[in-house]
């Protein structure tokens, strides 16, 4: 696998990061004793990167340095990370006094698509490729889900997703949020629940580059799996199209992958927009996330040359990602 053409001089430092231990964030469970959990995480010398980013922005705004309004982001998300260059690890999550786990360890970059989706209280939300559940959990943590539909094609993976929800979210909340878990084919959602959702997350299956690079030859990049690899963008287009069709006009979709490849990222977004225009006469607009990116650039290393969307690059100083995400607005 080589992205040296796509990334040129950036590739070696991305590569060494992909092959080295990745960095985690601790997503605080708002259904646990969250301020206690936060205090404990702070004692470890970690910081909530979301609140840090917001305070930094507000400071800039006050001092007149930044004229732009604060970009939209989903509320109530608290995720702790260690500082740049700090390779400390979080202790494993524990069961708290309220009977649920205190935090969820995940790649902090995975939180960005959920933040970017910009949930509002009471939104109906669809997570089209939900397993194993990190982002689904994050959606619930925003406390904005009037309804949450979580789906994944694989039944074994939805099993894992259920376990995550059970360990982190109390039963009454799960019922109140009308959390529905299904194992259907995501590509069919346009027909199943067209024009329904306020917010849709389409976190597609991809080549999971970080893990593919470890076992150099035995993975999706090997020749015998070439067809599978070539089919992937097509599958991704179909899933994104379904997600858009399931969004109500005026609603928003975030498309995300953990791949570096623009064939799975920008090309899929652009291809799907075209598809929807041509086949369905539906207009979809890409939303500019550059202010959103600036909000978080102290924590993450972003690629500066995406045609559409944003891409978090792994770097030894901040070994998160890869994470590509793009926000779409369904106009019609």
């Amino acid at each position: 696998m080589t992205y040296s053409v796509q990334f040129e001089d950036l590739w070696p430092s991305i590569r060494v990061s992909l092959l080295s231990e990745q960095k985690y964030g601790a997503l605080v469970n708002n259904f646990a004793d969250w301020d206690c959990v936060s205090a404990r995480l702070e004692q470890l010398n970690a910081k909530d990167f979301v609140s840090e980013a917001i305070s930094h922005w507000e400071l800039e705004a006050q001092s007149g340095h930044s004229a732009a309004p604060s970009p939209a982001y989903s509320p109530n998300l608290r995720c702790f990370t260690f500082a740049r260059g700090d390779v400390s690890r979080f202790p494993p999550s524990r069961l708290g006094s309220l009977g649920v786990m205190d935090y969820y360890l995940m790649d902090a970059a995975s939180l960005l698509p959920v933040l970017a989706l910009g949930l509002h209280p009471g939104d109906t939300v669809l997570d089209l490729c939900a397993a194993p559940g990190g982002k689904t959990l994050a959606l619930l943590q925003t406390l904005c889900c009037g309804n949450l539909a979580a789906n994944d094609l694989s039944t074994s993976r939805t099993g894992r997703l259920q376990k995550v929800l059970q360990s982190y979210v109390p039963q009454d909340i799960r019922e109140k949020n009308q959390v529905r878990v299904t194992s259907w084919d995501g590509r069919k959602w346009g027909e199943l629940e067209g024009d329904t959702y306020d917010r849709v997350l389409v976190d597609v299956p991809c080549t999971t580059d970080r893990h593919s690079l470890y076992e150099e030859e035995n993975n999706i990049f090997q020749r015998s799996r070439k067809k599978e690899r070539q089919m992937l963008p097509m599958l991704q287009v179909q899933l994104l199209a379904a997600g858009l069709l399931a969004t109500r006009p005026g609603g928003h979709v975030v498309y995300s992958t953990c791949s570096l490849s623009h064939l799975q990222n920008e090309y899929v977004v652009q291809g799907t927009i075209e598809l929807l225009a041509n086949q369905y006469s539906i207009r979809v607009q890409v939303e500019d996330l550059s202010h959103f990116r600036k909000l978080f650039m102290d924590t993450f290393c972003f690629f500066q040359s995406c045609q559409v969307g944003e891409l978090v690059l792994p770097n030894l100083m901040a070994n998160f990602g890869p994470m590509y995400f793009c926000k779409l607005h369904r106009l019609t």
Partner: protein, 341 residues
Amino acid sequence: VLNLHRQIPLTWVCLAKLMPHLGEQKRTAVSLFRKLTTTSNGEGLEELPLIGSKKHVQELKCRADLVHCLPEKQRLSVDGGPLTLEKVVCSLLHMGFSDAHINELLSIQPHASPQQLLDVISEFILLGVNPEPVYVALKKSPQLLKMPVGQIKKRSSYLRKLGLGEGKLKRVLHSCPEIFTMRQRDIDDVIQVLKEKCLFTMQQVTEILHRCPNVLQGNPSELEYKFQYAYFRMGIKHVDIVRTEFLKYSLTKIKQRHIYLERLGRYQTPDKKGQTQIANPLLKDILRVPEAEFLAKTACSSAEEFVVFKKLLAREEEEEPESSTSTEEEEEEEGEEEELC
């Protein structure tokens, strides 16, 4: 017949040795030695001015006075008396030692006989080591002076057989003076690893001992591991291992720099045919250059990233040490999508 010019340094060297025992009345003598310090590590020792021959008569008179002034006890306390000391000093001068060095050497082991000192030093000189390096080695490792001469002779003869005579011994003596004090068996173990496990030729073994004397200090199985790392993991041939003095670098440093380059995509282990898809950097640009240059020119990476990498690597090593053989055979594995997706 000693030439008069030579007499003069002899004089003040002797006097220097005897100085601590003399009292205030010898201030004239003292003034001749104004810059003299004789700390055992030689700190602050500066070159003493050579005394011109005009003062010679004055010196001799002074010296005679001093000898007379010595309490009986002290006149005899130096083994064999001042005369033997003179002989030794004289011989050392002939060998080419400077006055300052001689003075220091004499004070390293004040209780050892000057004869012992001379015998030990002579062996080193005979092995082709120059005075300056001998001095440095003895200062660094004073225990060498305590060794029985017989042992030194025996070891010298062995080292000559290994091909480490004729001046090749200098570096070894400096960084690894234990080559004289260590057990024969321990040297044999190292040589055995190099010859029989690593399959170096005897000539290569000599060259390695000469250029990387530290191999004698480590343990033989670590040495073998280091060789295997070079040969299998990095694909370096015997000739190049010797030529680049690979074995003198610490395994930590080797792994840090090599694995960093490998993960950056800048170093590939050659395949069975010895080929790589990219041109690997020269070994000297990997190991010999200082870190700043390594980062700027070879790795083309930043210092802060390397710092983090070293921490991560140390942790990896602690948790799952790398095997010394070549990277694992490609395996068929179902790619499971990870929790964190």
